[in-house]
Amino acid sequence: MHGVWQRRLMLTLLLAPALLWLFALIVLPHVDLALLSFRERTAPREYQAGLAQYRTFFTEPLYWHVFVRTAIMSMLATALTLVIAFPIAWVITKVARGRASSLLFVVCLIPFWVSETVRALGWLILLRESGVLPVLLAKFGLTAVPVELLYHDTTILTGLVYTSLLFMVVPLVSSLESLDDSLIEAAYDLGANGLSILRRIVIPHAAPGITAGCIVVFMLTLGNYLTPNLLGGKNSQWFTELIYTQFIVRFNWEQGAAFGFLLLALSTAIVALGLRLSGQRFVDVMRRS
């Protein structure tokens, strides 16, 4: 039979990989990153504890401008993604029936199984000056000559919304699926209009899905490197690019670590705020999304 010591042994054996994974690859690296960010170099190979890296961030306007810009653009992208994805999730769960509904859902998921690099390549071919859309626009006389559609903020937003849609559609669909249609029918019979049904029945019910989707999309957008970099070019000014530059190009790890922590702090703060506002628990939200 199962002895107590045998169960203890099993527990230890199963705990070992989990602890090794979480401590060696998540906890310790972040502790190390924090320590790194709180030191300054006084001479070659000599360091002291200090806040110089964070001071640089606040005194150098470029750095915090990019930080604020990244945060605002990410919020915009999240809001846009929600607005675009919601009707689709609604159609999948409430309008389409049976096979049509499953088919639409699967079709919406397919593009996201393809690498983000491939999708960015698609946008590059579509939008650059010699690309498909500018050439078409010129041909139909909407613009005199092909115009450059890359490197604008709108382009970056489009790309970010595009890569994020799936992470919004999936949690929205799963939360709307559990909304009983008869509630909506009842509200209609009692004379409610579409807007008040949306506000008083649908949105409260879908709140967990909306929160989950927004949190995941915001975090992904904030931490994205590929899409802003390729679609925005030099104009992208995305915070992850600053981190990359400090770490890989300039080899100024202390500064890069501080930037990394600031980004992590922002992402954590927004996630916490989202949870607080909607009264959700982290574990439930992550399971849902």
Binding site: R7, M10, L14, L15, A18, W21, L25, I26, P29, H30, D32, L33, L36, P87, I88, V95, S102, F105, V106, C108, L109, I110, P111, F112, W113, V114, S115, T117, V118, R119, L121, W123, L124, I125, R128, S130, G131, V132, V135, L136, V170, S174, D181, G194, I215, M219, L220, G223, N224, Y225, L226, L230, T240, I243, Y244, G260, S267, F282, M286, R287
Partner: protein, 295 residues
Amino acid sequence: MIASLHRSAWLRAATVLYVAAFLIFLFLPLVTVAVFAFNNAPYPAPPWRGFTFDWFVGNESSGRVGLFHDAELLGSIWTSVVVASWVTALSLAVGTANAFLMERFRFPGRQALSILMLTPLVIPGVILGISILSLMSRIAEFADAELGLDLDFLRPGLPLVVLGQFSYIATIATLMISARLKRFDRTLEEAALNLGASHAAVLRTITFPYLAPALIGSAAISFLMSFENFNTTLMLVGADPPLTVMMYGRMREGASPVLNAVSLFLMLASAALVMTLMSRGSRGAPARTGARSPN
């Protein structure tokens, strides 16, 4: 608004239009990439100059190096396959252990551990990358300076790429396998034990066969996510880049249609994988549980 209620004609038309516009938005970039893989021109741009297979089969003599003769590109695909295989094996092993740990044992700190297991999903991939890079490099430097050891595998390179991707893919594997193990009827195991089966036999003949769909599903998802990862990989990569990093480098130099060719190959491969998964599972189940690749 909903199917059972009367909807006006214009609302129905608007719905159809919206869905159509949405689908065009979704598929336009992919279709464009695929079409320009066959354009008979040195750049993936309009106008259309006729159909060619050069970007797949071309070699030095034709002046266009196609996918099948591009040693650098093929090498990076192989690198990605090797990395993804390691990540998949590690994630499955740790994910299975975690699932049993969390579903079958009660111990102090279990709640905290389950939260800690989810955190890799809310850490931006770039930061996962730099934190692992800095810790491992500092350990390697320390070992070199103080102990005279040369720990090359802790320097940027494929071992670090594997560790970096594994650090968050393990969470996804854990969630997928736990979800299935949670629904397992434990009386089946008890019955087998009562009938005299050993613990090993029960695991082999009852528990693992039951878990098999989740194991296959999470293996496929882990492989795909590793193959497509960019952010974490970029921070940890050494001399031999996996496919996504290689493609990114070439896209910045100005893409040639050979990138379209390799993209088309990627699309077909992932479509085949997803179709197989979906036909095995219930409606969208694998797609849903593994739908996120946060990093």
